[in-house]
Amino acid sequence: MAGRKRDDTITADTFLEGIWRENPVFVMLLGMCPVLAVTNSVMNAIAMGLATTFVLIGSSTLVSLLRHVIPKQVRIATYIVIIATFVTIVDYVIQAISLDLYNALGAFIQLIVVNCIILGRAEAFASKNRPLKAVVSGLGMGSGFTIALLCLGSVRELLGSGTLLGFSVFGAQFEPWVVMILPPGGFFVLGGWLLLFNWLRERKASPEVKEAVHAR
């Protein structure tokens, strides 16, 4: 991350970085609170992912547009105000779409404000790049976050309720593993995915890197 060139070209990597190499959940382990709390069903995972993506894109755009105007001394306060604005907008929009969904997500919509992915991206990326690039990167990070939530949500709903998006998968005789939709299930499934993700990354790493690591 440190050696990255700071230019204005937008490549496929600007978008893909958030999905794979710097995935906010599986690699950076940021925003764990909603990851563990609201992934007990696929629908909740999708809604939470989309809400966070919207806030990420909205705040990245505004921070990037105002990056020359905001004095360094008050930048954090400014970012928080901007992020809080977009979170409030999402909060109202979800209430307008479906109250059931709003009740299912509970306080975690409002808590997007303190999700460190968003403040982190505003500080580390959006405040140093052009708006378009910030939007593409925000979309990538948001997609990465949504995919990660989906990974957890689908496993937990499948095992914990025997359904996917509310449709029964295993039939009536399936006895749900209730623990999977309770908080401990979130930790189990997250642990499983982290194991898989790190194993894949390890395997993908080029032999030279491996040698360098082992030589140390």
């Binding site: 007990n40 105002l66 105007v69 905001i70 004095p71 360094k72 001394q73 008050v74 306060a77 400014t78 105000v81 901007i82 809080a84 604005t85 409030t88 907008i89 109202y92 929009v93 209430q95 307008a96 479906s98 109250l99 059931d100 009740n103 509970g106 914990g160 749900p176 209730v178 939709i181 309770l182």
Partner: protein, 223 residues
């Protein structure tokens, strides 16, 4: 002012205030705009959620009117004033099917808010719907699905001879020890949530029904 760390060039406080103030105003504008745009939809959703719950607890109802109940009696909710809000539901012929009211009590995680239906003809509680609950999935949320628990309804809610309280307080009893029609047989494994339902129903019914029952005639005919 001298500083040790290599701070960015000093900027006057006025400029910081200007920027923060400007952004706060922009934020305020965006929030108010969204609020105004989404308000009609949110109100509609809330109305629908209540309507769905009212028609669920009072099967056969097709229309509803809102009333306020206080110590002085019953009056339509549109006229303002305070009191306990109740929803009177009518069938297709305009006859009163029953009254729905909100109740709530502390459950395992948080307050369990329910809407229950009261049928003045049998002086009983016909059923309930959950408005808000964060009870443990798979355990506490059984109160809406468990067939044995739902068989507790209709639940006896007759008034005592003096009309000031229920003849028998609604109470949740341990699973399998129900003896009277005013008792709620708890779900084994979800005792706390079952108790919350009983407690909520008892509090609300003890408070509301003595004031509502004498004036029930006012609700009978739909204008």
């Amino acid at each position: 002012m001298s500083s040790v760390a290599p701070l960015p060039p000093q900027i006057s406080s006025l400029r910081m205030i200007q920027v923060l103030g400007g952004i706060a105003m922009l934020s305020g504008f965006l929030v108010v705009l969204t609020y105004q745009l989404t308000l009609p939809r949110i109100e509609l959703n809330r109305q629908r959620a209540i309507e769905r719950a009212v028609f669920q607890v009072l099967p056969g109802a097709t229309t509803r009117r809102d009333f306020l109940v206080d110590d002085d009696g019953v009056r339509p909710a549109g006229e303002g004033g305070s009191g306990t809000k109740v929803y009177a539901a009518y069938d297709a012929d305009g006859r009163l099917k029953g009254i729905a009211a909100e109740a709530g009590a502390r459950g395992y995680q948080d307050i369990v808010r329910i809407l229950y239906g009261y049928d003045p003809a049998c002086q009983c509680i016909t059923g309930f719907a959950v408005l808000q609950s964060t009870e443990t999935p798979g355990l506490g949320d059984k109160i809406t699905r468990d067939a044995k628990f739902l068989a507790n309804f209709p639940l006896d809610a007759r008034l005592a001879a003096d009309g000031k309280q229920l003849a028998n307080a609604i109470v949740t009893v341990k699973h399998g020890s129900k003896t009277g029609p005013w008792q709620i047989d708890a779900i084994s494994g979800a005792t706390i949530t079952s108790t919350a339902v009983g407690k909520g129903l008892n509090n609300s019914a003890q408070n509301l029904l003595p004031r509502l029952q004498p004036h029930i005639g006012k609700l009978e005919v739909q204008p």
